[in-house]
Amino acid sequence: MATSTAPPTVRLRPRRTPGTWFRGGGLSNLLFMLPLLFIFGIFSWTPIVQAIVMSVQHTNFLAPPSFVGWANFNQVFHDPEFFVAVKNTGYFAVLALVFGYPIPLVAAVLMSEVKRAKGLYSALAYLPVVIPPVVAVLLWLTFYDASPHGAFNTVLSWVGIPPQPWIQSAATAMPSLVLEATWAAAGGTIIIYLAALTSVAPELYDAAEVDGAGIWKKIWHVTLPQLRGVLLVTLILQIIGTSQVFLEPYLFTKGGPADATITVLLLIYRYAFGSPTGGNYGTATALSILLALFLAVLSFVYFRITKAWSDS
């Protein structure tokens, strides 16, 4: 019915021809779009599609790729190391939350009350973030020397604590990794909190004081509720970051001792690039897609929260 009445209105529009397209700036539009289309096309969109295709294919360079269905995913789920890696990554994430979540908040709240040389405090806190991560890990590798003459063990001996094995024992390896990662990242989180703290409306504190609130009550009833959103975002970002931890386990321990620090990303790396006889690319992409699905849920929550914020 609608189709019989539509034609007259359609004909009123000018016909689109290559000529009108050109005069309307179509060519220059395309020229400006070109670097983006070229770079994203080859280095983002193509590999994303390929990742999905490869996860259901068997790919090596000896034979043409063949369709294998869910076999790659099956292989991941039948690999005992997969569960070790998931458990370790979860352990890393939990430890990183225990160490790394409250410390920056407390530090930022205390730093926000500093009257003089505030810049000095934040610059000092941010310095570890500036050190290139590889340098930081290699430096801590020296600190973690397990002999009694190691840097950290020397400091422990000053207070009468016996030397620790640090990254050389399965029990202490993961906490050692998390300690370094927390040191390396805390400064960034502190700066985010400091920015949030300066924007808490002072009227709220004034009002709380009129109601007779002391310092602790002001922190509990004004500061923390005002930071609620930022705290949630840093929480989600930290979980997204720690589920992809690679540098620390790879450079400190290569996943050892006894697989105590093998993480999901390290396992993906091993599947793809770990064997000198050729990569198991299908399995590697299958596992990376499983990780991506987990992270997509988290980032979806993150985007919903930040969107709710900017709308309000």
Partner: protein
């Protein structure tokens, strides 16, 4: 780079990021009370009345001193240790790593770390600069032209392209690892393999959806009347881009530049895969490889040299770094 050091740049930069980052919400509130700022400047959790109470003062002073000492130990301690150990003979560092004054000073470690034919990092240092400069150039080219096309020119297909670009924000980099590696081995369109050339890092760095997001948000907030006026005066799309839009976008160009250079300097996994040849390796890839075959003092000297430029850049552009860190929340994902 210099443009970001202007304090006036901040609010524009932050508001340009829109809802993607937490700071935006805060900054809007910050802006709205800007006129009252003078009177409210020193207002924190603890009021001036609280400060007058002796208990509060007695508690806060030592807390702040202790905090400062902790920050010095944690923030600058490892760097000072690294600087000391870079010029200390290996045996001293091994025997007494925490000794304040080394028995002897050995400057040769620094020069060996730089120019030793086997383990020297002089070449890799320059490579790192190249990687950073090239990634910066590609990212800026893609982000400015793409952002301009998407936000200002707005052809019909802009919405689709924008959606496809923003969609990649949800795909973690690890998914791309294997297919991107295979693409670098056999790139479509380009033809010849680009592995072991800087292009293998430069080109994928350009596919950064967060840059496009920052740019389009910023361009969207520019006053469109200025564009219309320029068009009436006869400016074509190229003139509009080069003489109007880019000069107005210096703050956001600064932010994208800081991110691009920091990320290029920090990246490890991807360069370690595609820049395996020592002649093109950046420092981050080289350092773990030379560690087993080198004396400790020379190795620590190499670490010290690698840290120097980021630290110096941070000390010069402190404000820009800390402001980007406020935005940083949104890039980590």
């Amino acid at each position: 780079m210099t443009s970001v050091t202007q304090p006036a740049a901040t609010p524009e930069v932050i508001s340009a990021t829109g809802g993607a980052a937490a700071p935006e919400v805060r900054s809007r509130r910050f802006l709205s009370r800007a006129p009252k700022e003078a009177e409210a400047q020193d207002r924190g959790i603890i009021s001036s009345m609280d400060w007058r109470r002796p208990g509060v003062r007695a508690a806060m002073r030592p807390i702040h001193v202790i905090l400062l000492i902790i920050l010095i130990i944690v923030g600058i301690g490892p760097l000072l240790w690294l600087a000391k150990s870079a010029i200390t003979p290996t045996q001293d560092t091994l025997r007494e790593p925490m000794a304040l004054f080394p028995n002897g000073v050995d400057w040769t470690a620094l020069s060996r770390a730089w120019s030793d034919p086997q383990v020297g990092i002089g070449t890799q240092f320059l490579n790192t600069l190249w990687v950073a400069v090239g990634s910066w150039g590609v990212q800026l080219l893609v982000a400015t032209t793409g952002g301009y096309a998407l936000a200002v020119l707005r052809p019909k297909y802009a919405k689709i392209v924008n959606g496809l670009v923003l969609g990649t924000l949800f795909v973690p980099a690890v998914v791309l690892l294997v297919p991107l590696y295979l693409i670098v081995l056999h790139p479509p369109v380009i033809g010849a393999p680009i592995i072991n050339t800087f292009w293998a890092v430069w080109l994928p760095a350009g596919a950064n959806a967060f840059n496009i997001l920052l740019m389009t948000r910023f361009f969207n907030n520019l006053p469109r009347e200025v564009f219309e006026a320029a068009k009436t005066d006869g400016a074509g799309p190229f003139r509009l881009f080069w003489s109007i839009v880019l000069p107005m976008s210096r703050p956001i160009l600064g932010v994208v530049s800081v991110f691009a250079i920091i990320n290029a300097w920090k990246d490890y996994l991807w360069p370690s895969l595609v820049l395996a040849n020592p002649a093109v390796q950046p420092l981050s890839v080289r350092l773990p490889l030379i560690q087993p075959q080198i004396e400790l003092d020379v190795f620590l000297a190499a670490l010290a040299i690698s840290t120097l430029i980021p630290i110096v850049l941070f000390l010069i552009f402190q404000g820009a770094f800390l402001r980007s860190a406020g935005l940083g929340g949104a890039v980590k994902g």
